[in-house]
C-alpha cells in the first residue's frame, strides 16, 4: 500500500463511509512484511504509573484484533501484561531485547514516570542488586530504542498520575528522555491510534506529528470540529442535563479544545463515544488532563475557577 493511501485510510474522515481503521490495514501489513527482511516490529512494553487501562484498551483493538497484531505486526518481547515468562526469566528477555538481539526495538511506555525520591514510587522489578525504577528503565531503554511511543495520557504528559497535588512528582516520558517521543495520548488510548501508529512506524517510519508530538492522523482536528452535535452548538442549542440530545458545551464539554477523532472513529469496534452517550467529552487526550478539564461538568470558560485544585486550561487549544 502506498503511504498516501495508508494515511487516507487512517484519517478516514467524516466523509468516508467506513468508520474503522479498517480491515484493509492487515493485508497491507502482511504484504509489506513479505518484502521486509527485518520482519515484524520488535516491541518492549513498559507499564509504569498508570491504571493499566492502556493495555486493556490495546486488547480491545479490532481489525486487526489483538492476536493478529501479535502474529502479523509486532514481536512483543517484554510486557508485564502479556508475556508468558515470569520473574528473572522475564528480565532476561528484557535484557536480550534491549541489547538488540531481536533487531532495533520500539519502546512503548504506558504510564507516567515518578521523579520524586529518585523515582522510588514506581519499581518495575526488583533484582538481587536492587530495584529497577521506572525512571531508570525508561531512561536506559529509551536511549537504546529505535522509536519511543508514549501510550496514553499518563505516558504522554503525566495525566491522572500527575494530577494535583502530584505527590510522586510524576511526568510524561518525553520529560525524562533527550530524544523524540511519539505521544499517543488518551485516557485510555484508543487502540486504533496506537495500532495505527505502530503500523505507520513499521511500514513508513515516523508519522507526521503535531506540536505535542502526536500523530496528526489522529489528533489533527478537534472533537468539536467533527462532532455530530456541531449544528446544535452553531445554533446555540445547549443541553440542560446529562442524557439530553443537544450540544454538551453547557455541561462542560472539552471538545472545542481537544484534538481527537472520537466523533467519527468512536470506541470499541467503533460503536460509541462519550457525546453519543449523552455526556461531555472530558478532553482526555489533552496535555493538561485531568486538571485542565476539571470540574468536568463545568462549562469551558469557567473551568478551573470554581475552587478545583485543577489548573486552569492552558489555552484555547486548537481552532474549532
Amino acid at each position: 500500500m502506498e503511504k498516501d493511501d495508508f494515511l487516507q485510510l487512517c484519517r478516514n474522515n467524516a466523509t468516508a463511509g467506513n468508520h474503522g481503521l479498517s480491515a484493509a490495514i492487515l493485508p497491507a501489513v502482511r504484504q509489506y512484511l513479505l518484502n521486509r527482511p527485518g520482519g515484524k516490529l520488535p516491541v518492549i512494553w513498559l507499564e509504569t504509573s498508570d491504571s493499566g487501562d492502556n493495555n486493556i484498551a490495546f486488547m480491545n483493538t479490532t481489525y486487526p484484533y489483538l492476536h493478529q497484531v501479535f502474529t502479523d505486526m509486532i514481536d512483543l518481547l517484554y510486557s508485564n501484561t502479556f508475556m508468558a515468562a515470569q520473574g528473572s526469566d522475564a528480565l532476561l528477555l528484557l535484557e536480550s531485547a534491549a541489547e538488540g538481539r531481536y533487531g532495533p526495538f520500539t519502546l512503548i511506555v504506558e504510564g507516567a514516570v515518578p521523579l520524586k525520591d529518585g523515582g522510588i514510587y514506581n519499581v518495575i522489578a526488583r533484582t538481587g542488586s536492587g530495584p529497577i525504577t521506572a525512571l531508570e528503565a525508561v531512561k536506559r531503554l529509551g536511549a537504546a530504542a529505535q522509536y519511543v511511543v508514549a501510550a496514553g495520557t499518563c505516558a504522554s504528559f503525566g495525566g491522572a498520575s500527575a494530577a494535583a497535588p502530584n505527590m510522586t512528582g510524576s511526568v510524561g516520558v518525553s520529560q525524562v528522555l533527550k530524544r523524540q517521543v511519539i505521544n499517543v495520548s488518551g485516557c485510555p488510548v484508543n487502540p486504533d491510534w496506537l495500532v495505527g501508529t505502530l503500523a505507520h512506524l513499521l511500514m513508513y517510519g515516523i508519522p507526521e506529528l503535531d506540536d505535542l508530538n502526536r500523530p496528526k492522523l489522529f489528533y489533527g482536528f478537534t472533537v468539536h470540529r467533527h462532532c455530530q452535535r456541531r449544528s446544535y452548538f452553531d445554533n446555540k442549542d445547549f443541553a440542560e442535563k446529562l442524557g439530553d440530545i443537544e450540544c454538551m458545551f453547557s455541561l462542560g464539554c472539552s471538545g472545542p479544545r481537544t484534538g481527537a477523532d472520537c466523533p467519527y472513529r468512536q470506541w470499541i469496534n467503533h460503536v460509541s463515544w462519550p457525546v453519543k452517550a449523552n455526556t461531555p467529552c472530558i478532553g482526555c487526550t489533552n496535555r493538561d488532563f485531568p486538571d485542565g478539564s476539571a470540574p468536568f461538568f463545568t462549562p469551558l470558560p469557567q473551568k478551573g475557577k470554581t475552587g478545583s485544585a485543577g489548573q486552569p486550561p492552558a489555552g484555547k487549544g486548537e481552532k474549532p
Binding site: 486488547m59 480491545n60 492476536h67 514481536d75 510486557s79 520473574g87 518495575i124 522489578a125 460509541s272 476539571a294
Partner: protein, 478 residues
C-alpha cells in the same frame, strides 16, 4: 542449602507491578512477602475537586475494573444527592457493570492464567514460558491456546457491550449519579443481546470445559494455596430506587458462620507498608514513607475485626451458596468461571427486561448530606469509597480496594494476609518450579496492583451504621 530465598519479580500477567519474596526451608515456603511496587496517591488527587468528578476520575484508578470504581462512586453520589434510581437505570447499570466483569474474568483466565497451565506457541509474547509442569497433551495444548484467540474476541465483545451504552471502555461515561445518561433504544438492546449470546456461547463452548480440564489435570491445586477460610463480600448488583438491595448478598464468612459486614469494623494497618502517621495530631492521616525500615509494600493491610479476610469470586460464590468447596488455588479459579457464567446469564436476562426508551437519568442539584460511604464488590473483591464534602467540594476521599484485602501485608502482630497465607506452606517441588507454583497461587487471586497501591489515608474508618440496614445505606452517620 536447606534455606533459600526466591525473589519472584516481576510477577507478570496481571494488572500493575508485583513482587513476591519467598523464604524456602527444606523445599517448603516458610515466609512470604508480597509487595506492590507502585504508588500514585489517588486519595490525595481527589481532594478539593468537585464531588461530581469522582465517577470519571476514580475510574482512572484501575483500567481492568474501571466500572467498579465508577459504580461505587455513583452510589456514593446518589446518597449525597439523594437521587432516585429508576428501574430501567438499575438494569442498565448492572448490565454495564456485569459486562465489565465478563471482560475481566475472560481476560484473567485466558491472558493471565492460561500460560500457567497450557503450553503456548513459542513465539512472542510467549517466549521463555518455562512451564516445567504443563500436563496437557499436545492436542489439548493446541486447542486451549487456540481458545486464547477466541477469548480475544469474547472479551472485546464484553467491552463492546459496555461501550454501546457507556460511550467507551475502559472509563465509561454514562453510568453516573442519578442513573444512566444513554438511552436504551431498541437497536442498542438488540445489538447487546447479540453480543451477550456470542459471549455466552464462548463461555459454554470454551471457558467451562477448559476450566474443567485444567481442574482435572491439576487436581493437586485443590490442596495448594489454601487460605484461612475467612471471606468477605460487600454484595454485588444493586437494585432499588436507593440502591438498597444487593442481588448477591453481602457477608462475612468465618468458620462457616455467616454474618453481615459492618464497615465500622474495618481498620487499616500500616505496620509493614511504606506509610507513616502524619506528625500533626489534628490530621488523622498517613503519608508515604518509601524508606521506612522493615516495610515492604505500598499496600496497607486491611483488617476486619482485627483479622485479614479474602474477597473475590470464591468469596461471593461461597457466601451466596453457588459453590461449595475449599479455599485453594483451584477453588478460586473454578469459582471465577462459575461466576462468569452466572453473570453472562444475568446480563442476558436484564437486557430482556429493559424497556426501550429515554435516558433513565435524573440528577438532583443539591446535596442533602456532607458525608457518605458506598460499597460494592468489584471483580476481585470488596470495594469501598468514602467521601466528606464541603459545599460540593471534596474534603476527603477514602478508597479501600479488593487487592488491598487480598494482598495485605502482615499486620502489626505479624499475621499474614490471604495471598501470603496461601503461599506459606507450599512445597516447591524442584528448583525450576520456583516461579511456576507461586505464580499459579498468586494469579488465582487475580491481583490488581494498579488498584491496591494508589491509596493513602487515615487508619480508621469512621463509625458507621450496619451497611445492611437497608434504610441506612449508604451511610450518613460518619
Amino acid at each position: 542449602m536447606s534455606k533459600q530465598k526466591i525473589l519472584f519479580s516481576p510477577v507478570t500477567r496481571m494488572s500493575g507491578l508485583l513482587t513476591a519474596e519467598l523464604a524456602v526451608e527444606h523445599g517448603i515456603v516458610a515466609e512470604a512477602d508480597v509487595s506492590g511496587t507502585m504508588f500514585r496517591g489517588f486519595e490525595y488527587i481527589m481532594r478539593d475537586r468537585h464531588i461530581t468528578d469522582a465517577v470519571y476520575l476514580t475510574q482512572r484508578i484501575c483500567g481492568i475494573c474501571s466500572t467498579a470504581h465508577g459504580a461505587v462512586a455513583s452510589y456514593l453520589l446518589d446518597s449525597l444527592y439523594d437521587n432516585d434510581i429508576g428501574e430501567n437505570a438499575q438494569y442498565l447499570r448492572n448490565i454495564m457493570f456485569g459486562a465489565d466483569f465478563l471482560q475481566n474474568h475472560i481476560r484473567h483466565f485466558y491472558f493471565f492464567g492460561l500460560p500457567d497451565f497450557v503450553i503456548m506457541p513459542n513465539e512472542p509474547p510467549f517466549l521463555n514460558q518455562n512451564c516445567f509442569d504443563c500436563r496437557l497433551d499436545d492436542s489439548d495444548n493446541r486447542r486451549l491456546s487456540g481458545h486464547y484467540i477466541e477469548a480475544v474476541k469474547a472479551a472485546e465483545k464484553s467491552h463492546q457491550l459496555l461501550a454501546l451504552f457507556g460511550g467507551k471502555a475502559p472509563h465509561q461515561h454514562s453510568f453516573v449519579h442519578g442513573g444512566v445518561a444513554a438511552a436504551p433504544t431498541a437497536d442498542k438492546i438488540t445489538q447487546a443481546l447479540a453480543l451477550i449470546r456470542d459471549i455466552l456461547d464462548f463461555i459454554r463452548r470454551c471457558l467451562l470445559p477448559d476450566t474443567d480440564l485444567i481442574a482435572k489435570c491439576y487436581g493437586d491445586y485443590y490442596h495448594i494455596g489454601e487460605t484461612s477460610g475467612r471471606f468477605l463480600s460487600f454484595g454485588l448488583f444493586r437494585f432499588g430506587g436507593k440502591n438498597e438491595h444487593e442481588l448477591w448478598r453481602p457477608g462475612v464468612l468465618n468458620d462457616n458462620r455467616l454474618t453481615r459486614p459492618k464497615v465500622d469494623l474495618i481498620r487499616e494497618d500500616i505496620a509493614n507498608a511504606w506509610f507513616e502517621q502524619a506528625e500533626s495530631p489534628t490530621k488523622e492521616e498517613t503519608l508515604p514513607a518509601p524508606r521506612k525500615p522493615g516495610a515492604y509494600t505500598w499496600s496497607k493491610a486491611v483488617l476486619y475485626r482485627g483479622r485479614h479476610y479474602e474477597g473475590g469470586p470464591l468469596a461471593r460464590m461461597l457466601i451466596n451458596g453457588f459453590y461449595s468447596g475449599g479455599t485453594s488455588t483451584m477453588d478460586r479459579i473454578v469459582a471465577r468461571t462459575i461466576e462468569t457464567h452466572l453473570i453472562a446469564e444475568l446480563v442476558e436476562e436484564w437486557l430482556q427486561k429493559l424497556r426501550p426508551g429515554e435516558p433513565p437519568v435524573s440528577q438532583k442539584k443539591e446535596t442533602v448530606r456532607d458525608q457518605a460511604i458506598a460499597v460494592t464488590d468489584a471483580m476481585r473483591g470488596a470495594l469501598l469509597h468514602c467521601a466528606r464534602i464541603r459545599g460540593q467540594q471534596v474534603e476527603k476521599y477514602d478508597i479501600i480496594t479488593p487487592t488491598a484485602w487480598n494482598f495485605s501485608p502482615k499486620d502489626h502482630r505479624g499475621n499474614r494476609g490471604p495471598a501470603e497465607t496461601a503461599l506459606v506452606g507450599t512445597e516447591i517441588l524442584s528448583p525450576e518450579l520456583k516461579y511456576v507454583i507461586p505464580g499459579r497461587i498468586i494469579r488465582s487471586f487475580d491481583p490488581c496492583i494498579s488498584c491496591a497501591t494508589h491509596l493513602v489515608e487515615k487508619r480508621h474508618l469512621p463509625a458507621a451504621h450496619n451497611i445492611h440496614d437497608s434504610n441506612k445505606f449508604p451511610f450518613t452517620s460518619i
